[in-house]
């Protein structure tokens, strides 16, 4: 039985178990009494908080019920925050003021990347100048995402556009200069997939060069490295799937031992949703990809106990009603699958989530409306108790975000979580409404329908081969466009209440000037020239490791000392071939 079939069965079994507890709580008075005692204890143990208006509130809102069946459904079916199956939250107090030690960081994590490494470094310093916890999130330019050097044929115009240009470990040193990479309150995130192992190797090598070899075990951060969603949605994969998965597993194996604070993969639904998937498809493909990775790493001999807690997730949050509860359902299904199918302990059952508001929901017309869209999405993301969040800038439809709009986006999170009282005094303020529960059920059933279909096709990898996910996503994207076109999906300012007089966006466009692009190419050439005597030998050694089945990631940490990104991907292509695009 495939892993997805096992997960589906486990979830069905869990739901039956919950219903049994519900009827037992009602019929078996002894069990009911035990349960009510537990319930009273939970209620009694709640801390209280006096808010600035002098109102006194408990730090957690629990359902106002004394009916044993309902109590059983709550305690077993969704759990208190931080308790299995984690429907309400992964941790107990999340965004609360003076929350427990486990989660003292504000969830704001803003994505940035522009022009050259020093420009992005400057932006990072600007963004974090008031933050106690420094959480950088890095976007790379097109050539870097595709593993090409800035001097590659035909990519000049793309250097530093939409993200930072990065060719060598020296760029990596410039990118995070001045930040305490091993600091307790520092973490970095890198959004890159196809060449992810090479990029992380550069980060490790750059950190070692600056702080010495002992820094490695203290490095903290996340690299996306999610190959499956690239094949399904975003098309940024450069090596064939099997080879990509092997490089990934090498990286996971190495980081779980040597970089214990690193998250070597961020299993992402964001790009799946941006490519047009419905919220249910987003959740179903993300979860099924996640279980596939777990199976892959486990079958390679890695321990679920070791790598399980190092997996993290990344979801899109748009305006559809499913987003009221999407992440709540994901946490539940992940916890059940990990516990019941893979035997994971609690730390490996957590669906640790980064959310980004929907880029697709933003439009160019009357673009200041995007502030409202993003604000609503932020509320939805926090209702789902996301662990960290990126809010989009309103000018994103036409440009790399400008400082003004980045600042507004960051402030929107501060306003929601620090200024408004909605999330900072009490957990579950709005959780558990009848509507939320109904959406949860519908979403869960939708996800299981997808799981069964993927299982029928033989699992995630065979389904990819049969283009299942791609064609489903494309069909959903097509429907979405048709709905906009026929008006069944209103988009204010586009197909409704359109302001014909003020259609052109008057927003400053951020572009990388030609001289900077040239500077990047010149630097790269100097690097290549300086290292020319060592390059070939290092690449040969890398190729030997690839061919002999050794750990490629471990070797890459040495290779990046004297080879550029493009030189390395070039050699790896010779060893394992190129990804054949799916169309």
């Amino acid at each position: 039985m495939s892993v997805l079939a096992q997960v589906t069965k486990a979830v069905e079994g869990f739901n039956r178990f919950v219903e049994q507890q519900v009827s037992q709580a009602r019929s078996d008075s002894q069990f009911g009494e035990q349960l009510m005692a537990r319930w009273q204890a939970a209620r009694g143990g709640l801390g209280t908080v006096t808010i600035p208006t002098a109102l006194k509130l408990p730090r957690l809102a629990l359902p106002l019920t004394d009916e044993p069946g309902e109590v059983a459904r709550y305690l077993y079916g969704e759990g208190l925050p931080g308790e299995f199956p984690f429907v309400n939250a992964a941790y107990r107090e999340m965004y609360l003021v003076n929350a427990g030690a486990k989660n003292t960081e504000e969830p704001t994590r803003l994505f940035a990347g522009l022009a050259l490494a020093e420009d992005t470094n400057h932006r990072f310093h600007y963004l974090t100048r008031h933050q106690k916890n420094i959480r950088l999130s890095t976007a790379f330019d097109g050539p870097t995402l595709y593993g090409l050097d800035s001097d590659a044929d035909g990519v000049f115009g793309k250097i530093g556009e939409g993200g930072v240009a990065l060719d060598t470990m020296e760029d990596m040193e410039r990118l995070y200069a001045g930040f305490p990479l091993s600091g307790e309150h520092f973490s970095v995130s890198m959004t890159i997939n196809g060449p992810a192992p090479i990029i992380l190797a550069m980060y490790v090598a750059a950190a070692k060069r600056r702080f010495g070899p002992e820094v490695v075990s203290t490095l903290r951060g996340t690299i996306q490295a999610d190959i499956l969603k690239e094949v399904q949605a975003q098309n940024e994969i450069i090596f064939p799937i099997e080879a990509s998965l092997r490089f990934l597993a090498d990286m996971v194996e190495h980081t779980t031992t040597h970089l214990p604070r690193w998250y070597p993969i961020s299993i992402s639904g964001y790009h799946i949703a941006e490519a047009g998937a419905t919220p249910v498809q987003q959740a179903a493909y993300t979860l099924s990809n996640g279980f596939t990775y777990v199976e892959l790493f486990r079958d390679r001999g890695l321990e679920v106990k070791r790598f399980g807690p190092r997996l993290s997730f990344f979801l899109d949050c748009g305006l559809d009603i499913e987003y009221v509860a999407l992440a709540r359902v994901c946490r539940k299904l992940w916890a059940i699958g990990m516990r019941d199918v893979f035997g994971a302990d609690p730390p490996a059952q957590l669906f640790k989530l980064h959310t980004q508001t929907s880029g697709r929901s933003l439009i160019a017309q009357e673009s200041k409306n995007n502030l409202t869209r993003t604000a609503i999405e932020l509320v939805l993301a926090c209702l789902n108790a996301t662990n960290s969040c990126h809010s989009n800038s309103a000018d994103e439809p036409f440009t790399t975000p400008s400082e003004e709009y980045v600042r507004l986006a960051a402030n929107s999170q501060a306003i929601l979580l620090e200024e408004s009282g909605l999330f900072k005094f009490m957990m579950n303020t709005l959780a558990g409404s009848p509507g939320m529960k109904i959406v949860e059920r519908a979403v869960e059933e939708g996800i299981l329908v997808e799981f069964r279909e993927i299982d029928r096709l033989g699992g995630v990898l065979p389904a990819i081969d049969q283009r299942y996910q791609r064609s489903q996503i494309q069909a959903a994207a097509h429907r979405y466009e048709q709905q906009i076109n026929d008006g069944t999906r209103p988009i204010i300012g586009l197909n409704r209440y359109r302001d014909e007089t003020n259609a052109a966006p008057a927003v400053k466009v951020v572009r990388t000037p030609r001289r900077k692009k040239q500077l990047q190419v010149d630097r790269l050439e100097k690097f290549k020239h300086r290292n020319r005597a060592r390059t070939e030998r290092a690449l040969d050694r890398l190729a030997t490791v690839v061919e002999s089945g050794g750990n490629v990631f471990k070797e890459l940490i040495h290779t990046v000392e004297c080879c550029s990104l493009g030189q390395i991907t070039g050699r790896l292509h010779e060893c394992v071939g190129r990804h054949r695009p799916m169309v």
Binding site: G154, K158, I363, A364, P397, F398, I484, N485, A503
Partner: protein
Amino acid sequence: MKSKSVRFPDAAPRVAGTLSKRAATPTRVSRRTQLLKPPIRLLTAVPICDGHDSAINTINLEFIHCGVEVVYLGYHRSARDIVRAATQEDVRAIGLSSYNGGHVEFFTEVVELLKRQGANDIGVFGGGGGTITKADAAIMQKNGVDRIFFAGTPLSEIVKFVKIAYGAHRRAGWRARGETISDPDRRIARMLTAAETGDRDEGAYVRGAPAKGSGPITIGITGPGGAGKTTLIDELVLRFLKASPRTRLAILSHDPSLIGQGALLGDRASMVYSQDDRVFMRSLATRGQAGGLSPASGRCLRLLKRGGFDRMFVETVGIGQEAAPFGGEPVDRVILVMSPDYGSRLQLQKIVMLDVADIVVLNKSDLSGAKTAAVEIEQRLALNGRGQKLIQTVARRHRDTGVDELFRLAIS
């Protein structure tokens, strides 16, 4: 009829750009060419370092439903690959969908490369939603791009533009300037167009085709849709190019025309090693002919044979059991590509090509059921008593030993 529209994610206002002078210049169309007007052929692609293929997929579909033949090159394609493909395919124009920035440079590079190849009769148009500003579009159009479409443009408007700008017969376009076609690939490409349209005037170029020996060994590749023909050819191409640094190859690929409509010629999009200066590829739509090839296949093949290539491949459309596509064509060796899912053993008896093929390839031989299939096909071939070879491959696997074996047979 309500017009469909593509909403680029950054939807900008629905504003029509201006046609550049070159594209807007009305071309005189004779009555004869109007009557026999062949479908417009376009090439579409997404630029290098860009994987945003959602908009182009929608636009491709609209084009083919409006009678256009679209050669789709896929995403993450360099300007050089795009221009090479466009000149080989001799399309009327290149449509680019760009979302990852750097569009001013990229579009300009495409226009410049076309000029350098003497192929500036091939138009360039495109879009990229809100990522391309009006100021950018103005620069791009000044640099020779015919038209940039902004977000929110109805698809019907794009189709209308294509029909007006590129629908007229081109003869007047390139001949009037008295250009000579110096690039040999470009020359062959133009002759293939003449061969395909059966145009009497351009037919002169067919007669003038360079002759060179008896022509290369031509390998016909056929089989049901989805068996992996294109992947197999691409893997063979990789081996040919590696084996000999001077080898030049030609590929004549076929895709079906929709009834009364255009065609999506999509084989190039999944080929990674065949985008090379040493590979000449041409995609033909079947234009109403059943059986796997186009009415012009024979003419095109004879032309290509005189093009100085070392090896040629002809790929048919996905065929049915009764088809025998290479009957009258000058093909030296026939490979039938199958996958293990042909159905029952009885079905094998009905496949005509199993009698005709010189080599039978069982691709996807890593699938369950492949062992049974291999035994059944072996038995079927043994009955023929012609010594036909059965080779098992997994073409999607890098350095597959089955493909190596096929390659050894193909070079011999």
